[in-house]
C-alpha cells in the first residue's frame, strides 16, 4: 500500500519537475495580465522567483533609494526654546546614525526580497523583516514621543503577524502550494478569499499602511531624514506589491 503511493508521488514530482519551465511559460496568464511579460524565472522546484517589468522597476527604485539613503548624512534641526536667545543645531549622534544606517540598508534588502519573491510564505517573512527593521530604525532615538509611537507600532506589528502568517497557512492548507505561479492558475474559492483578506490585513499592519498610519505620522517627527524616509518607502513598496499579490491570488 505504502509503496504504491510512494511511486505515484514520485512520478508526479518527476513530471512536474520536468515540465516546470513549460508550465511557467504557458500558464502564468494571471501574472502576465498584471505585470507584463515575464522576462525570466529561476525554477527552484516549487519556489519560483520571476522577473517582470514591474518587479524590475521596483527593484531598481529600491536599490537606488537604498544607496542614496545610506550615503546621505542626517540633516540638522534648528531648535529654539522659550527663555533662550539662541538657535541650536541638532543632529543625530554618530553612533546612533551608524546603527540606523545599518537598519536602513537591512530594510532595503528586505524590500528587495518582498518585491522579487515568488512564494507567499517568503513574502510574509520579508514583510515582517521590513517591519522589524523599521522599528530598529527608531529604536535608538532619545525622544519619548517617538519611542511611544514606535512601541505602539511594534504592538500592531506583533499582532499582525497572526493574520499575515495565518492567511498564508490557510491558502497553503487549501491549495497545497505556496508558489505564486501555481496559485495564479487556481480558481479562487471562499477560503482563499479569506486567506487573501487576512494577508492584506497582515501586510497593512506590518507595513504601517492606511489605518495604522497614525503611529507612523508620530514616528516621523524624529531626526534623521534619510532613515525615516526609508520607512515611508518600505510601506509604500509593500503596498504596491500586495496589490499585485492579491490580484494574482484572485
Amino acid at each position: 500500500m505504502e509503496e504504491r503511493n510512494l511511486t505515484i508521488d514520485l512520478d508526479l514530482f518527476d513530471n512536474i519537475y520536468r515540465n516546470l519551465s513549460v508550465i511557467w511559460c504557458i500558464k502564468m496568464n494571471d501574472i502576465v495580465d498584471i505585470n507584463g511579460l515575464i522576462i525570466g524565472h529561476f525554477p527552484f522546484v516549487d519556489i519560483v522567483p520571476y522577473i517582470t517589468p514591474f518587479s524590475l522597476a521596483l527593484v531598481a527604485t529600491i536599490v537606488t533609494f537604498t544607496v542614496f539613503l545610506a550615503i546621505s548624512n542626517p540633516e540638522y534641526r534648528s531648535i529654539t526654546r522659550f527663555k533662550e536667545d539662541v538657535v541650536r543645531k541638532e543632529t543625530v549622534e554618530k553612533k546612533e546614525a551608524r546603527f540606523r544606517r545599518f537598519m536602513t540598508i537591512l530594510c532595503g534588502v528586505a524590500l528587495i526580497g518582498v518585491v522579487t519573491t515568488g512564494d507567499i510564505f517568503n513574502f510574509a517573512l520579508f514583510v515582517s523583516l521590513t517591519g522589524i527593521s523599521n522599528i530598529g530604525i527608531f529604536a535608538g532615538i532619545k525622544d519619548t514621543h517617538v519611542l511611544d509611537a514606535a512601541f505602539q507600532y511594534g504592538l500592531v506589528l506583533m499582532i499582525c503577524s497572526l493574520p499575515l502568517f495565518g492567511g498564508v497557512a490557510l491558502i497553503l492548507a487549501n491549495t497545497g502550494t505556496l508558489s505564486l505561479g501555481v496559485l495564479g492558475n487556481l480558481p479562487s474559492n471562499q477560503i482563499i478569499n479569506v486567506g487573501r483578506t487576512l494577508l492584506l490585513i497582515g501586510a497593512v499592519g506590518e507595513g504601517a499602511l492606511a489605518p495604522f498610519f497614525a503611529t507612523k505620522v508620530e514616528m516621523i517627527r524624529a531626526k534623521g531624514a534619510p532613515f525615516i524616509n526609508m520607512m515611508h518607502l518600505s510601506s509604500l513598496m509593500v503596498f504596491t506589491r500586495i496589490i499585485e499579490l492579491l490580484l494574482i491570488l484572485g
Partner: protein, 290 residues
C-alpha cells in the same frame, strides 16, 4: 502584448518633451481659468512654463542644515520616476501597476524633499505628505477594481477591452470618480493639496530655490500630464484614441479641475483624508453593485 526589441530614443525623448510642454501649458491654463473665475485677469497661459525656466537661471542655495546627497537626489528621483511612467504608459502600454508604483515613489519623494532640508516648515509639509498618503492609499484600490472588471492591468489590454465593450466610464462611474479625486489631489491649489498649503508657507517646497526648484517643477508637470493620461486612457480608452482627442480631453479635464480648485477652499488635513476615503468607499460600492 508585444515589446519591441529596438525602440528609438529620439522618439521617446520627443514624447517626454511634448508631455513637459503640453503639461506646462495645461497648468498655465489651469491658473488662467482659476483667475477668470475669481474675477482677476490672471497670468498668461505660458506663465507656468516660464516660471519653470526662470528657476533654471536663478541662484541655487542649499541650506546649511540639509542632509546632503539626499537633498538633490530625491528631487531628481521625482523626475526620473515620472519619466519612467511616461515611457511605460503612453509608449509601451505596460502595466498600470508600474504607474501606481511611480505615484507611490512620488509620495516618498515629497516626504524626502520635506525632510532633507531640516527646516520646520518643510518638515510639516512632509508630515502632511505621509498623512495624505493615508487618503490616497484606498484610492489606489482603483487598479484592483479595474482588474476585476477587465481581467488585465496592462494599459494596452484595458484599451482593447474598452474598444470591445465600451468605455469603462459608463461601467464603473464611481471608480472613475475616485480616480478623478486622485488627479484632483495632485493639482495645484486643489482642496486636497494639503502638502503645499499656504498655511505652512509652501509645504515641502519651502526651502527649494534655483535649479533644483526648476527640476522639481518639471517633475510635477510630468506627474500632472501622466496622471491625466492615465485617467483618460483607463476610463475613456474606447472613445479617445488619437493624440488630438487626447489633447482636447486633457484640456477639458483641466478646465473642470480649475473650476473645482477655484470654487473650493483647501480642507483641513484630516478632512482631506476623510473625504478621499469616502470616495474610495463609493468606488468599492460601485463594484459591489455590479
Amino acid at each position: 502584448m508585444y515589446y519591441p526589441v529596438n525602440f528609438n530614443l529620439i522618439y521617446i525623448l520627443l514624447e517626454i518633451i511634448t508631455a513637459f510642454i503640453f503639461g506646462g501649458l495645461l497648468l498655465g491654463l489651469h491658473r488662467k481659468v482659476m483667475a477668470r473665475i475669481q474675477g482677476r485677469p490672471g497670468p498668461p497661459i505660458v506663465q507656468h512654463l516660464l516660471h519653470t525656466f526662470k528657476f533654471y537661471i536663478k541662484e541655487l542655495s542649499i541650506p546649511n542644515t540639509s542632509s546632503m546627497p539626499l537633498y538633490v537626489a530625491i528631487v531628481l528621483a521625482m523626475d526620473a520616476v515620472w519619466i519612467l511612467a511616461l515611457i511605460v504608459g503612453p509608449i509601451l502600454g505596460g502595466s498600470f501597476l508600474i504607474i501606481i508604483m511611480c505615484y507611490a515613489v512620488h509620495k516618498v519623494a515629497e516626504h524626502g524633499i520635506g525632510l532633507a532640508s531640516g527646516s520646520p516648515y518643510t518638515k510639516l509639509g512632509s508630515t502632511r505628505a505621509v498623512l495624505s498618503a493615508t487618503a490616497e492609499m484606498p484610492l489606489i484600490a482603483v487598479p484592483a477594481l479595474v482588474f476585476f472588471k477587465t481581467d488585465t492591468l496592462l494599459l494596452d489590454g484595458i484599451i482593447n477591452y474598452q474598444i470591445v465593450n465600451g468605455s469603462l466610464f459608463t461601467q464603473l462611474p464611481l471608480v472613475a470618480l475616485a480616480m478623478f479625486v486622485l488627479v484632483l489631489s495632485k493639482t495645484p491649489y486643489s482642496p486636497f493639496g494639503i502638502v503645499w498649503g499656504k498655511d505652512i508657507v509652501s509645504g515641502y517646497k519651502t526651502e527649494h530655490f534655483g535649479v533644483i526648484r526648476g527640476v522639481m517643477m518639471m517633475g510635477e508637470i510630468l506627474a500632472f500630464f501622466a496622471l491625466l493620461w492615465c485617467f483618460i486612457t483607463i476610463f475613456f480608452g474606447g472613445i479617445i484614441t488619437a493624440p488630438l482627442a487626447y489633447m482636447v480631453a486633457m484640456t477639458g479635464i483641466t478646465v473642470i479641475l480649475a473650476f473645482i480648485c477655484a470654487l473650493t477652499p483647501m480642507v483641513a488635513p484630516y478632512h482631506a483624508v476623510m473625504i478621499q476615503w469616502i470616495f474610495a468607499i463609493l468606488a468599492v460600492v460601485n463594484v459591489l453593485l455590479i
